[in-house]
């Protein structure tokens, strides 16, 4: 199980929780699991999310491995100028 920190706006779609635990070994598994457990997160996942794994931001990369002790933070998908 990995703990995933959700940003504030997503919490209402996850029963008000700031942090949820899901079974996932990769970024892709994590997104799939989140979308199926909390359908309210699906629109934002479709628009795009980034993943901060132990402080490093990944914008895509499905197969990024997530360890059980990793710090996992969901972030909106971001662009620069």
């Amino acid at each position: 199980m990995v703990k995933v920190l959700l940003w504030g706006t997503l919490r209402s779609a996850a029963d008000g929780q700031a942090e949820v635990e899901v079974e996932a070994g990769t970024f892709k598994e994590l997104l799939d699991e989140l979308a199926s457990r909390y359908p309210g997160l699906e629109p934002q996942i479709r628009r795009g999310v980034s993943l901060a794994l132990d402080g490093k931001i990944y914008r895509e990369a499905w197969f990024t491995e997530i360890g059980p002790d990793s710090e996992v933070v969901l972030m909106p998908y971001m662009t620069g100028g």
Binding site: L5, W7, G8, T9, L10, A18, G40, P43, Q44, R47, A52, D54, G55, K56, I57, Y58, R59, E60, A61, T64, E71, V73, L74, M75, P76, M78, T79, G80, G81
Partner: protein, 747 residues
Amino acid sequence: MALDAYQKREFKQVGTRPNRPDGVDKVTGRAMYGADATAPGMLHAKILRSPHAHARIVSIDTSAAEALAGVKAIVTAADFGVPEDDFLRDVQDHCMARGKVLYDGHAVAAVAATTIAAAKAALKLIKVEYETLPHVTDVDAAMKPGAPVVQAGRAYENVPAGMSENVTHHCEFGHGDLDAGFAKADRVVERHFKTAATHQGYIEPNACLASVTSDGKAELWVCTQGQYFYRTLCAALLGMEASQLRVTASEIGGGFGGKTMIYMEPVALALSKKAGRPVKLVLTRDEVFRATGPTVSSSMDVKIGMTKDGRITAAQARLCYSGGAFPNTTVDMGAQAAFAAYDLDAVQTLGWNVMTNRPKESAYRAPGAPLSIYAVESVVDELCQHFGLDPLAVRLLNAADKGTKSSYGPTFDQIGLKATLEAAQAHPHYTAPLGPNQGRGLSCGFWFNFGGNTCVSLNVNTDGTVGVTEGNPDIGGSRASISLMAAEELGIPYEKIRTIVADTSSLGYNDVTDGSRVTFAVGLATIKAARDAIRKMCSRAAKIWGIDEEAVEWVDGAAVPAGPNAGKFPPMTLAEIAAVSAETGGPIAGHYEVNADGAGVSFGVHLCDIEVDPETGATKVLRYTVFQDAGKAVHPSYVEGQMQGGAVQGIGWALNEEYIYGTDGRLQNAGFLDYRIPVASDLPMIDTVILEIPNPGHPYGVRGVGETGIVPPLAAIANAVSRAVGVRMTELPMSPPKLLKALEAKG
């Protein structure tokens, strides 16, 4: 340790300042920009634009224009489909209004004709019947109940019920107990801020040359920050296959984020398709201001609590951004960046995006961050002044560091903020004397930085030279940086490398030149492509010597036996291996394709001295110093250039740049005369101090440097003004009439 992780090394070429490879072309007028290309049989296109801020298009009659001699094609929204995907539909609707015009300058029709004069004449013959609608251009007004609705039904699921339909997006970030935090403070300051939209202000107007042939093939020559993304969008909107549309990036005359999005390229392609001839479309400066680019405008509230010894106990920001007539999420980035420089126990940022009758916002250097950080850094400075605390010491006391849980969630790895603050503290600028009506301001800045999709192909030529093919337009000397990294890795002189920017048919997908990503990600891919080529060259040497591949290593540009057991062979240079490549197995090339992550966040600190003329409210910038962490400055001149250019754009944003709308909803200053970007005589030298705290995610330690520099100037100048004349400017720009009014109100 990952293969691409940072390894400490002594650089031989990285960190030097050789001449850029495209220099001579650019100082002799030979470099080809967007508007500089021609094609046989080329037509010229012009776009008809809405004079209304908001109106229903009742009808468009193009018959008289079509009958005009020389007119070869006219397109309107009817010539495009209606994409199902929201994002694509918005992109297209921005290029050509469908049903409604949403802002002054919105395109409604376009003409291709044999001459520019004929195209202009044809525009006048197009009859558009409008039914004008109430409009709204101010972010606060657009949020009010009963405000004119720019587009209905566009709100995301995250917007709380009961808000104006113009509110399309809501976000919230942060952690900790705000109430408890504010209760611990000795003083809590809450201020309201408002900032005007600004434009990237690139000097080259958007321009393209499109050629679509009857067999479905197409060429697009265009000034862009990302030829691949332009291809993706144009192909989707025109129903073309990506392979049939070759997009070539011209030299680009500035972008700063503004050329990461298409504005009129599909229109040129559609005209070319309809006319059966190449079509050139060059925007006027007026069109650039009215229909491309601008940033969000904002209305913000920031509340910060501080103890009397300078510790921030809680911080909160409410950000309302308007990115024009379409939904966008730039406020996400502003909200996440707002408090990134601080180590906080209790922090919350709330954001809303609001639609207004203005052009669709485009990225501009660290999109969203300059505004929110301006507001935050202003309030921090006000608290420092209240307690009589040194503003640098307070920043150091509260600075985020390795291990800090950031205000947007993740825990920071190695970051350079404290070192950057310490460099500013130790710099003579910080303690230099000031005269009357002069003040010194300070601000931190932050940007995330990104990596992204990147391909590099590196070809070893038989004469011992090397060609590097990359896919990101060179917007500020990146060919030089890429060549330097290739030279460093291969161990051959910089002069032996030539780096070119490929078209979309010559290399795999590359993300847009944005997010401060090129030197980081293309550099990473170049180093890895060079390593790929080195492996192949070692293998050739091994074959020639009749030893195992593993027994050969690459030292100073040559293959050498790895140790005494490998055999005694003299080093074989790259040139020697290349010369016999045909005989040893064929051409030698290295490749690397990656979606790079680990760009590493970037912090900067700016110091500025200004003087206010108390009788006129004019602000003069006297001295300016930028401190920023580059990880590793590959070509220091171009790193300095990014910092200087970003700082001056921020100075413009702070002092004079703004989109000014009349009560009729029309843009009043669509030109360089009244959209006032800084001129040479407005400025002092911009001093730079580059720190090099290696990014653990890059083999040479490189961090992106392009965007952070625009973030701090807004607050640095506001803080300097406050310290010079005792007024806190909470509205940008701090133009002289506003500053004089504030001075008079103060008395």
